[in-house]
């Protein structure tokens, strides 16, 4: 009787302890917002044994294999599973977004990369890395510098290395907000000086400080030089012809007086691309065509580039009409080109120049034309359009 009573008492204690432990237990589970309807058996078995992080690490090793064997299409689904298993695996979000936005070379997947990073931020709000990745996505890929500023600001508000603040300053400069850029560089110089004073042998701090000093000086010089551009803007023009070389291959030949090495953006998208994107499910964008090339350069007053749409998976051409556009965005230009046109096009004028916003004054050049499906798919080599 005594034994039974003893057992019952201790067992009740065990149950009470477990109930109390359960109230804290949620903090130790990986948690996360990703949900999955399917998952491979071996991963599930390992994960269910409570070793979700181990399963995630094993899959991470597999990703390395796929990357080196060129099986890139298998990487993104696997990364989704990893972040489901371990939502605090920051590198998985970073790498997944990179595969989507850069490695896939598919512009349709950029919103997915953005969503993926947002999901990572939701699961890891206190870590600077994913905010910085989001900043880099907008700075380097999308080239929307206002959004880059927004994300780099968030990253810099958390404990982070000086690189984050440097990127914030670069984003301000690219956005034409030169005073704010100068302010950040000045702060970085002052912070660097303090670190070097504290430890004169800290070579990393010396390097960071010197970079900040250089960029601070360059911003001051450019501010003065480019202020003069707005007073005497130059007239620029851009005309182009579109040829069909063969079915699904077009050639654009542009003539312009834009500075040497200016980059002209070439894009060809469905005329109703926004509607098509909305109707697509998640990452399945099988009915959307979105071709973009940010690299074509002006050489000797001309720019010639091919639009290769032969990859039918990437460019399904399901619509009836498409918009072909050539644009010159001063913000995205290399620094030597910006020295002629200004940060925001303040040194540009002419009938081909469009005013995008007035405060701060922003200009760009953009000329578009509509192409039909028949025009793109036709057999003969032909001049399709001439845009003046």
């Amino acid at each position: 009787m005594k034994r039974r009573l003893w057992l019952i008492i201790v067992f009740l204690l065990v149950i009470l302890l477990q109930l109390k432990v359960d109230t804290y237990r949620e903090n130790y589970k990986p948690g996360g917002t990703t949900s999955f309807g399917y998952i491979s058996r071996e991963v599930l078995a390992t994960a269910l044994m409570g070793l979700r992080e181990v399963a995630a690490s094993l899959l991470w090793l597999k990703i390395e294999d796929y990357f080196h064997s060129g099986e890139h299409e298998k990487i993104t689904p696997l990364i989704r599973i990893i972040t489901w298993l371990d939502p605090h695996f920051i590198e998985a979000y970073s790498s997944g977004a990179w595969h989507l936005a850069w490695n896939s070379e598919d512009w349709r997947l950029i919103p997915s990369a953005e969503e993926f990073l947002k999901e990572g931020i939701k699961n890891n709000p206190d870590k600077y890395e994913l905010y910085a990745d989001m900043g880099w996505l907008f700075y380097d890929k999308v080239k929307d510098y206002e959004k880059a500023i927004e994300w780099y600001k968030k990253a810099a508000s958390l404990p982070s290395p000086p690189l984050v603040k440097r990127m914030l300053a670069h984003s301000y400069e690219r956005a034409g907000r030169i005073e704010e850029a100068i302010k950040i560089w000045k702060e970085l110089v002052e912070e660097g000086n303090k670190l070097v004073e504290r430890n004169p042998n800290n070579f990393e701090a010396i390097f960071d400080r010197d970079v900040a000093v250089h960029n601070y000086n360059m911003c001051i010089i450019r501010k003065v030089d480019r202020a003069a551009l707005a007073k005497k803007p130059k007239t620029y023009y851009l005309t182009y012809q579109v040829y069909r070389v063969s079915p699904r291959i077009l050639q654009v030949r542009a003539r312009t007086n834009l500075p040497e090495l200016s980059r002209i953006r070439v894009s060809l998208v469905d005329a109703d691309i926004e509607r098509r994107k909305k109707e697509s499910l998640g990452w399945q964008l099988m009915n959307v065509t979105e071709y973009r090339d940010v690299w074509p350069q002006v050489k000797g007053g001309e720019m010639k580039t091919d639009i290769d749409l032969t990859d039918a998976l990437k460019y399904p051409l399901k619509g009836e009409s498409f918009i072909l556009a050539l644009s010159f965005l001063p913000q995205t230009q290399p620094i030597p080109v910006q020295d002629y046109v200004g940060w925001l096009g303040e040194g540009m004028t002419g009938k081909d120049v469009i005013v995008v916003h007035t405060s701060p004054p922003g200009k760009k050049m953009e000329k578009s034309t509509t192409l039909t499906l028949e025009e793109i798919l036709g057999q003969q080599t032909l001049l399709l359009k001439e845009v003046k």
Binding site: V10, L13, V14, N27, K29, G50, E53, V54
Partner: protein, 265 residues
């Protein structure tokens, strides 16, 4: 004193078993194989080393607890050495408790060795050393915290193995204990099923299962340890989780003492 002597003898006996050293050696080898991750970025490498290392400690720790413990008492009975011990002024409950404490020492030694090995491997990473030795040691010492918490939960597993080995044979004891370990490790999953289930009867059954089966999932604090964050109320959680493990072990050891008292040897 009698219990302590039996514990020491048990510890000595276990350390003479090759199987324990083989398991420990394989675990240390897996932990030490961090150089295979050298082509990963430093932050990725750390996550991989920590997760693989803690996973190895979890699985090999459980393996050692099962294999070493399950054979202890049956071997004593087979070799009839138990008669020699019990012919001296030693109570049967003292014999069982002594064995249990001996196993606890063996597990403690193994887990600490594995935990320290993992800590050394982590501290050997360039990115960790760059933080500064003391800062890095303090932030990564939670590896030992996770390992020590696991130690208390492996005591439950050992207590099960002792109980089953008194009631059955060594092999059956290993199988039953392994079953309990697997079911107990699924505790987090069972709890999540309670929320998913719509049927009140199923919910009651799952809740009972969650509360009655030893909850090895309580020892899993790996996510915060791997990613370096401290959940709120961690100290209290650790105290509660350890109290749970000790209470569960106490129940099982008590039952083992009573079972062994009535067993013909």
């Amino acid at each position: 004193m009698v219990i302590w002597n039996i514990a020491r003898a048990t510890f000595k006996e276990c350390t003479q078993k090759k199987v324990m050293w083989i398991l420990l050696g394989v675990a240390l080898l897996i932990i030490g194989l961090s150089f295979i991750f050298s082509f990963f970025a430093p932050s990725e490498r750390l996550v991989l080393i920590k997760s693989m290392g803690l996973g190895a400690i979890y699985l090999f720790g459980a393996g050692i607890a099962l294999i070493v413990t399950a054979g202890l008492i049956p071997t004593e009975i087979e070799r009839r050495t138990v008669h020699t011990v019990l012919s001296k002024p030693v109570e049967r409950w003292q014999f069982v408790i002594g064995k249990f404490l001996g196993i606890a020492l063996v597990l403690f030694m193994n887990l600490i060795l594995m935990g320290i090995a993992l800590l050394i491997v982590i501290m050997g990473q360039g990115s960790v050393r760059a933080e500064g030795f003391v800062k890095a040691l303090v932030s990564n010492a939670r590896i030992l915290e996770a390992t020590l918490l696991l130690f208390f939960y492996l005591l439950i597993l050992s207590a099960f193995a002792i109980l089953f080995s008194i009631l059955t044979t060594t092999n059956i004891s290993i199988m039953l204990s392994l079953f309990v370990f697997v079911v107990g490790s699924l505790s987090d999953y069972v709890e999540s099923l309670i929320n998913v289930s719509q049927n009140p009867l199923t919910q009651i059954f799952l809740k009972a299962l969650h509360l009655l089966v030893p909850n090895f999932g309580n020892a899993n604090i790996y996510n915060p340890v791997i990613h370096g964050y401290i959940p709120p109320g961690e100290f209290l959680y650790l105290l509660l989780a350890i109290a749970y493990a000790l209470s569960y072990s106490l129940i099982l050891t008590s039952i083992s003492c009573w079972a062994f008292a009535g067993k013909e040897v």
